[in-house]
């Protein structure tokens, strides 16, 4: 299969503007004509509510495609670069070219968005692409395989379904780029495999995204945004989900009350019955989360929720207060509907707590204090920082979306997707005019002086040497 794709790429199939636009338009048709099937597959795989599927998977994807359709000509055109005296006379530009045949490995929590959004980038940059969707979302995986085969050019775009063994086989091949969304643990394996072929990678990983809450914030709006950003986004199973909260000892009770109040407003008195939240994806993850809750010294810290139903793979929205820092729930990315709140004597301490941990994909702060915002933005390192909201930054195509340190490398969205799948080739056009002998042996004192003058853009010195008076 790889040989065929390479042949297509070498034949130039994917490079033309027309081909890329056609493929992107077909992807748009998939969004427009197959939304009900997509929603249904997501319901099967994740119990995802229709609104989340429509908005966070289909609508976001549609926007991404439309942006690419609109901007592609601009993205594809070379950028002029300035030349200087040392290379005079010359002109220079930077040309974007496709990398070749690329591999996109997607995740299970947003199986359509995280499969097709990178594919949009790969196609707009002119590559041939193989997509490997996650086997943990099987209905979505097979729907993707079916739709892409039906609509896209299969000589250049393919879907490979499967699990660990298929992925391992894929990773043994030589790709021109690998784009991976998933866990840090697997991210290491991917990069290691890529190293064998010097394949560049984008790794969109995860981490524990902290939320720092200041007492001067608008409590009601803060609580609502946290809730919809956590439980309203695949029930906490999202890479930029607010993982844990940091606030002061005094403020915590007010925050908890506000959260409880809004949770009830959103999901009713029996959240386990609510149709507005995704379920836990499978029993492995259910057990993982149960283990977190059942740990000694953690279970007693539950202040809201805690109910579980293994058969339905449901865990109620759960809030915990001051769990031990070395507990399981505070040691790994939760990726579920559990929200620990850690209290501090003063908010300044939150910076140290965050900085003592691996760099997360996102860090959130709710405050009206300008100084605090600035300090947070400059001292907290994370993929992205959002003040006074949750998760929305991934919908903004003018902001690069990616991690740093343990949360990943590289970025995408908007033009960043196009760039992620392109090689920016430097091109220099030189003329034959003015070939100065100082470039060539035999070397002499005079040549050094001339070179120095050039280096220092010292025109006076240059002139003096040239007319022989220096």
């Amino acid at each position: 299969m790889l040989t065929e794709l390479r042949r297509s790429f070498d034949a130039g199939v994917t490079r033309g503007y027309e081909w890329r636009i056609t493929q992107l338009k077909k992807l748009l048709i998939i969004c427009d004509n197959h939304e009900p099937e997509i929603v249904s597959a997501l319901q099967d795989d994740l119990g995802k509510p229709e609104l989340e599927s429509s908005v966070y998977e289909v609508a976001l994807l549609r926007n991404s495609i439309k942006l690419a359709l609109k901007q592609l000509k601009d993205w594809m055109s070379p950028d002029k670069a300035k030349t200087s005296l040392t290379t005079f006379p010359a002109s220079a530009e930077i040309v974007s070219e496709p990398l070749g045949v690329v591999l996109v490995i997607s995740a299970w929590n947003y199986p359509f968005l995280l499969s097709l959004d990178p594919v949009v980038g790969a196609i707009s940059a002119g590559n041939a692409v193989v997509l490997k969707p996650s086997e943990l979302a099987p209905a979505s995986s097979s729907l993707l395989a079916k739709l892409l085969e039906q609509y896209l050019d299969s000589s250049a775009v393919r879907v490979v379904e499967g699990a660990v063994s298929e992925t391992t086989l894929l990773l043994e091949q030589k790709w021109d780029k690998i784009f991976y969304t998933g866990s840090s643990r697997i991210g290491r394996i991917i990069m290691m495999a890529a190293a064998k072929h010097l394949t560049p990678v984008v790794l969109e990983l995860g981490g524990k995204s902290p939320v720092v809450i200041d007492s001067d914030t608008n409590l009601k709006i803060t609580a609502k945004r946290i809730i919809v950003g956590k439980w309203g986004c695949n029930n906490g199973q999202a890479c930029i989900s607010p993982d844990y909260i940091l606030t002061t000892k005094e403020y915590a009770p007010k925050l908890i009350d506000a959260l409880k109040h809004e949770l009830e407003a959103f999901y009713g008195k029996n959240p386990m019955e609510s149709k507005d939240m995704s379920r836990i994806v499978n029993s492995n993850h259910f057990d993982r989360l149960s283990k977190m809750l059942e740990e000694k010294e953690v279970s007693e810290k539950i202040v809201y929720g805690g109910q579980k139903n293994k058969e339905n793979l449901n865990i109620a929205p759960t809030i915990l207060l001051d769990v031990p820092l070395d507990s399981l729930i505070m040691s790994e990315e939760i990726f579920g509907p559990l929200l620990p709140i850690l209290t501090l004597n003063n908010l300044e301490e939150s910076f140290d707590v965050i900085r003592s941990r691996p760099k997360p994909l996102a860090a959130y702060l709710f405050t009206q204090n300008q100084k605090l915002k600035e300090r947070f933005a400059t001292t907290v390192s994370a993929g992205g920082i959002v003040v006074n909201d949750i998760a929305v930054h991934l919908a903004l195509h003018t902001l690069p979306f990616g991690g740093v340190g343990e949360s990943g490398m590289g970025c995408y969205h908007g033009k960043f997707s196009f760039d992620a799948f392109s090689h920016k080739k430097a091109v220099l056009y030189k003329s034959f005019l003015g070939d100065s002998s100082i470039r060539y042996p035999p070397y002499s004192r005079g040549k050094i002086r001339l070179l120095k003058a050039l280096v220092n853009s010292n025109f006076v010195e240059l002139f003096k040497v040239l007319i022989g008076i220096a």
């Binding site: 926007n63 290491r188 990069m191 507005d276 929305v392 080739k425 060539y440 220092n456």
Partner: protein, 484 residues
């Protein structure tokens, strides 16, 4: 080794502490360091030319042109542009998000590792250092053991000019590199061969450390003799300069081999010979203008490439070697076998194969059959050929009608693709190379849209759908109850 392990751990600890303290984040600190680098080079010009002569037999003009002058320019540019580079970039957000604000801030990765090379030991050490410092990182430089005098110079000079708690130098070979790679770094910058590049990337993968790998490859030079016949003298001079005039061909962007039409081959050779003589005289070994081969190991490597009997048979000029003086004569080959070693690995030496083709258009297919190189050079005025080269081949860079000069153009990113590398630097790209571009979005607590929150209903769904399409008019109609 234990002592070395201890040194590394201590250095890392100190650099991390320094980074945490925030000292390297200040633009003033960075500018001071950059200024100190310029001072260091200007104060020690003679000493630096001296060590480069000891390590590589480099003439002081070459040393200045390729290394010292380059570093001074690079540091000066960084000094002048740092304020501009460090400014956050504002992002426009869609109207729907009003009054939210977005920007992208460049922040240093933290504590970074620079592994330098032996062929341009000063510039390939200091240039990445300039990038790391301007981006606000603390940095450890490991200079190459194959250029011991330059390495020792840097180990001594850098601590006397730069902030030793933030910028450190370590000397040593593969065993030191192995120890370094066992630790977690926030970024690794490596200049060297693809073989070692793979080892570096695999080690970096253990810690999810991002890497920039400046590797190499066989940089082809196409001569479309018909279209540049008027300027052929310049062409030959430039190619000769690009092969023998810079570290005797031991450069990642050196002219590796030439592609030319069969009918022109002998004329080309006839022009190359006197050009070489004009550069190095009758006896290049004594000219003082030709760098020597860096080590016995590399000499033996080049020896092996030439000793292949089929390659020997293709020598049309030069070919003499002196192991004691680590000297290889400027050598020209005509059509060595394509399956010989010399045509399948980066030569990195003063041997120039000329490969002939029936038609210069075939050069494209030839280049494509090999791994993507760091640079492609093409001497042509034929617009069609230029377009074909640009669109059908892939390389780090393409330079028309000259060689190696793209290195000097700091508005152009310098880096490879495929086997020739990952990432890029020079100019502002050096700054970006060592920075994490952090997105910052600030929302407003003043306004809120009910439609954002559960419980979901069909109104909210319609609202959000329209909002996403930025169909603001329809959105207003919906809110006024005028749209179903």
């Amino acid at each position: 080794m234990e002592a070395m392990k201890e040194t590394v751990e201590q250095s890392l600890r100190e650099m991390r502490e320094t980074f945490e303290s925030g000292r390297t984040r200040s633009v003033k600190w960075r500018k001071t360091q950059l200024g100190a680098i310029i001072e260091m080079v200007k104060d020690n010009e003679d000493k630096m030319c001296d060590v480069l002569f000891q390590d590589l037999g480099k003439h002081s003009t070459e040393a200045f042109r390729d290394e010292l002058g380059f570093v001074i320019r690079s540091a000066t540019t960084a000094l002048n542009c740092l304020d501009k580079w460090a400014v956050p970039k504002k992002s426009n957000l869609p109207l729907l998000f009003y009054p939210a604000k977005g920007q992208v801030v460049s922040e240093p990765y933290g504590t970074v590792l620079v592994l330098s090379s032996w062929n341009f030991p000063i510039s390939l050490s200091l240039d990445p250092l300039i990038g790391a410092i301007s981006a606000g990182n603390t940095v450890l430089l490991k200079a190459s053991e194959l250029s011991p005098n330059a390495s020792a110079f840097l180990a001594k000079a850098i601590p006397s000019y730069l902030d030793t708690k933030a910028i450190k130098v370590i000397e040593g070979g593969p065993d030191v590199a192995t120890i370094l790679l066992q630790h977690q770094w926030d970024k690794i910058f490596f200049t060297g061969s693809p073989r070692i590049g793979k080892i570096i990337m695999a080690a970096a993968a253990e810690h999810l450390t991002p890497v920039t790998l400046e590797l190499g490859g066989k940089c082809p030079t196409i001569i479309d003799h018909r279209s540049v016949s008027k300027d052929m003298k310049s062409v030959v001079k430039r190619i000769s300069g690009g092969k023998w005039g810079s570290c005797s061909g031991q450069a990642c962007i050196a002219v590796d081999y030439v592609l030319v039409e069969q009918s022109f081959a002998s004329s080309l050779i006839d022009m190359l010979k006197p050009t070489i003589k004009s550069f190095f005289g009758e006896n290049p070994k004594e000219s003082g203008c030709l760098s020597r081969i860096v080590s016995k190991k590399h000499f033996q490597r080049l020896s092996r490439l030439l000793n292949d009997p089929r390659v020997q048979a293709s020598i049309v000029y030069g070919g003499s070697m002196d192991e004691e003086k680590l000297y290889v004569e400027p050598t020209i080959l005509l059509d060595p076998p394509l399956d010989s070693e010399i045509m399948n690995e980066e030569i990195f030496g003063p041997i120039l194969p000329i490969i002939t083709l029936r038609d210069i258009q075939e050069s494209i297919g030839f280049i494509k059959s090999k791994p993507k190189p760091l640079a492609i050079y093409a001497f042509t005025k034929d617009e069609n050929l230029k377009t074909r080269i640009l669109s059908e081949t892939s390389s780090g860079s393409v330079t028309f009608n000259d060689v190696m000069i793209q290195y000097m153009c700091d508005a152009l990113p310098f880096g490879g693709v495929g086997e020739s590398g990952i990432g890029r630097y020079h100019g502002k790209y050096s700054f970006e190379c060592f920075s994490h571009e952090k997105a910052i979005m600030e929302g407003s607590l003043a306004m809120d849209l009910e439609a954002r929150y559960p419980p979901w209903n069909s109104f909210k769904l319609k609202f959000i759908r329209l909002a996403f399409r930025e169909a603001y008019f329809k959105l207003i109609l919906l809110m006024l109850g005028l749209k179903k």
